[in-house]
């Protein structure tokens, strides 16, 4: 602290702010309170101006106290409006947010009149954010708040998690959910208010919402979500102030956060758009290949165990194909079929795969027709194979039913798994 250059201070300060906004924002977003942060930030402006008009000084603690007072007033106003009128919460937040912000802008213009006394430098930063005006004492306040918030989240993790997920259940166990909720709200308010001079009233909400929304792409576990969200927030602060030099800092930080969000939206595993498109493409390719193998199997099923070559035209007429040639090429590359101009024949490997697929298909069909109404909840939709998709007992039953109808692809039972055994038992004939 003794001899930090201004740029070091700004770096540490914005990273601290981004980190804690990410952590606190995660709880707010999960609790459905993302907009409350926005309202708190806007409603803080009149408080900041009033505090300055009364004390005539610009220091973080004074102004934050003012911000806190009007912020709490705003929350009270929303509560009263939703409780006693038919206005919905989002509308009430909109009303209160803009009213308080309007009052703030008016007060700001009064503060900036030449006749008003006091050192006004930096008050403007509350609108758009200006970390360049950061004092040593501001950095200390940020650090203290960060430590307190982090400690609270670590101490009360279990309690916050339960309150956010299922408030009624938490209350039934005797947890004081009202106080836990208030504690989360207090953390949100504190972080929002200390962040105002850095990011600005208008953009502070983005610091609350974006890191949490970004982190949600990367994980399904709350502890990891908090960590990632904090890191994203800190990174946005660091990178934003470095890259965005010469531009309004709040905007630079928020745009950095938005870029991180965009990258996650596109490239996150599972939830990202690219990964979703990729897996959709893979699925379509797999389904097409399975259709091909099943068609070849069914066309030659009557002649089993011999595997006849199928005429390409027969195959083409069997069902509707979407670029059959490319499909055949790929299947040939995977050595599932042999393809000779107008004739297609399953290889031993292809036959085994085709029999498996056909069996799975028929089991699944039979299940849907006869048993789906009984146990749709027992279907494990994440599993790839029908054998794993349904409970084992049900698969056994379905197999019996298929066998009774003579539709169970029996080639599986006759076909040894290992190629070595094919030679020893069947005299080297390719099946």
């Amino acid at each position: 602290m003794i001899s930090l250059s201004l740029s070091d201070k700004v770096m540490i300060g914005t990273a601290l702010l981004g980190g804690m906004a990410g952590v606190v924002g995660s709880f707010a977003v999960l609790r459905g309170r993302a907009l409350v942060g926005d309202m708190l930030a806007h409603a803080a402006l009149p408080g900041v101006c009033l505090a300055f008009l009364i004390t005539g000084q610009r220091n973080l603690l004074n102004l934050s106290a003012g911000a806190l007072v009007t912020g709490l007033l705003a929350i009270g106003a929303v509560t009263v409006i939703t409780r006693w009128t038919r206005t919905k919460e989002d509308a009430a937040i909109g009303i209160v947010l803009s009213t308080f912000f309007g009052a703030g802008v008016v007060l700001l213009s009064i503060v900036q009149k030449p006749t008003t006394s006091g050192n006004k430098a930096g008050l403007n930063s509350y609108l758009f954010g200006e970390p360049g005006g950061m004092l040593n004492s501001d950095l200390v306040v940020l650090a203290v708040v960060a430590v307190v918030v982090l400690a609270a989240v670590i101490l009360f993790f279990k309690e916050f998690e339960l309150t956010c997920f299922d408030t009624d259940f938490a209350r039934s166990q005797g947890w004081p959910t009202l106080w836990l909720d208030l504690a989360m709200l207090a953390m949100l308010a504190t972080v929002t208010i200390v962040g105002l001079p850095i990011v600005g009233v208008i953009l502070m909400a983005a610091m609350i919402i974006m890191p949490a929304a970004t982190a949600r792409f990367w994980t399904n576990r709350l502890p990891v979500l908090l960590l990632v969200s904090g890191l994203v927030g800190a990174a946005a602060g660091l990178i934003g102030t470095q890259v965005g030099r010469g531009y309004p800092a709040g905007a630079a930080i928020v745009l950095t956060a938005a870029s991180l969000f965009l990258v996650s939206l596109l490239f996150a595993p599972q939830r990202g758009i690219v990964s979703k498109l990729l897996s959709e493409y893979r699925l379509r390719r797999r389904v097409a290949e399975e259709h091909l193998l099943r068609a070849l199997f069914e066309l030659g099923e009557a002649e089993l165990p011999a595997v006849p070559a199928i005429n390409l035209s027969t195959l083409r007429d069997y069902r509707h194909w979407w670029s059959l040639e490319r499909l055949l090429e790929r299947a040939r590359d995977e050595q599932l079929i042999e393809w000779d101009k107008n004739q297609v024949q399953l290889t031993p490997l292809g036959l085994r795969r085709a029999a498996q697929i056909t069996k799975a298909h028929r089991l699944w069909e039979l299940y849907l027709v006869r048993h789906a109404d009984i146990a749709p909840d027992h279907v494990d939709r994440d599993a790839d194979d029908v054998e794993h998709l349904l409970p084992e007992s049900l698969v056994a039953k379905l197999e019996q039913e298929l066998a009774a109808e003579g539709r169970l692809p029996t080639v599986l039972a006759e076909m040894p798994i290992s190629p070595h055994e094919i030679h020893s038992e069947q005299g080297g004939t390719t099946l």
């Binding site: 999960l30 279990k158 998690e161 039934s172 994980t219 399904n220 909840d377 279907v379």
Partner: protein, 255 residues
């Protein structure tokens, strides 16, 4: 003499001056499977919430094993309606079941190995052992319901309140839940269940609470679940009365 597990005296509950439950008086002996039955808006869920201290009573009191709810909280297990939570919340199935142990753990203590074992055992009891590490978003309706049941089991309670556990679940899950309820009863627990399907009341429960803002009747199914009482509960609604008549007919052949 059998113990009284759950007792309500002169209870009235009002939401913003509009009464939802009037002068409820009832007592449930220990070890019973109790169906709470009544039309929509009859206050079934409110009765449960009042018992759990989730809504303020306008008058009267609730007793659990003869003492106030605050003193007996540790004896209570709760299964809220499935729709009451956000199933996209970033937790796994086991995380949710672990929440059942939080009441016992108290402030600051984290669930450890012992709690995880309890959670896995409870998941096994509801047939969800293989799902511990799944994100809850991936579950079907019936699976969500069973996870909630497992969480209540992890509370290791004496008295369970279930709010519509059969809503939107398939036949197999319904059968599994009924089996679980019977297992709970055989180990001496008392279970109160908000239930909608009049047809199955006499099959599933041995005690019934008929509710329509006031208490119509409360007692053993054989003597309480009668056409007369159902008429009082549901008023003149014909379709429901037909259903009720059907339900009574089904009950007749039983001794």
């Amino acid at each position: 003499m059998e113990k009284i597990a759950f007792e309500v005296h002169d209870m009235t509950v009002a939401y913003q001056r509009r009464p939802v439950l009037w002068d409820i008086d009832l007592s449930i002996p220990e070890g019973k499977l109790v169906g709470i039955v009544g039309p929509n808006g009859a206050g079934k869920t409110t009765l449960i919430k009042a018992a759990l201290g989730l809504v303020t009573l306008a008058s009267g009191k609730v007793e659990i094993y003869g003492k106030s709810y605050e003193e007996q909280r540790h004896l209570i297990g709760y299964v809220p309606q499935r729709e009451s939570v956000d199933w996209d919340f970033p937790v796994t199935v086991r995380d949710v079941v672990l929440m059942g142990t939080y009441g016992r753990l108290g402030w600051f203590r984290r669930p450890g190995k012992a709690e995880r074992e309890i959670a896995d055992r409870c998941l096994q009891q509801v047939g969800m052992a293989g799902y511990a590490k799944r994100q809850i978003r991936q579950l079907s309706g019936g699976q969500q319901q069973r996870v909630f049941l497992a969480r209540a089991l992890a509370e290791d309670a004496q008295l369970y309140f279930l709010d519509e556990p059969f809503a939107g679940v398939d036949a197999a899950t319904e059968a599994a839940i009924v089996e679980l309820l019977h297992a709970l009863r055989s180990s001496g627990k008392t279970v109160l269940v908000v239930h909608h399907d009049l047809q199955t009341v006499s099959d599933y429960f041995d005690y019934v609470i008929l509710l329509n803002m006031r208490l119509v009747a409360c007692g053993p199914v054989e003597t309480t679940f009668t056409t007369e009482n159902l008429q009082k509960t549901y008023g003149g609604r014909l379709t429901i009365l037909d259903e009720a008549a059907e339900a009574i007919r089904r009950q007749k052949p039983l001794p």
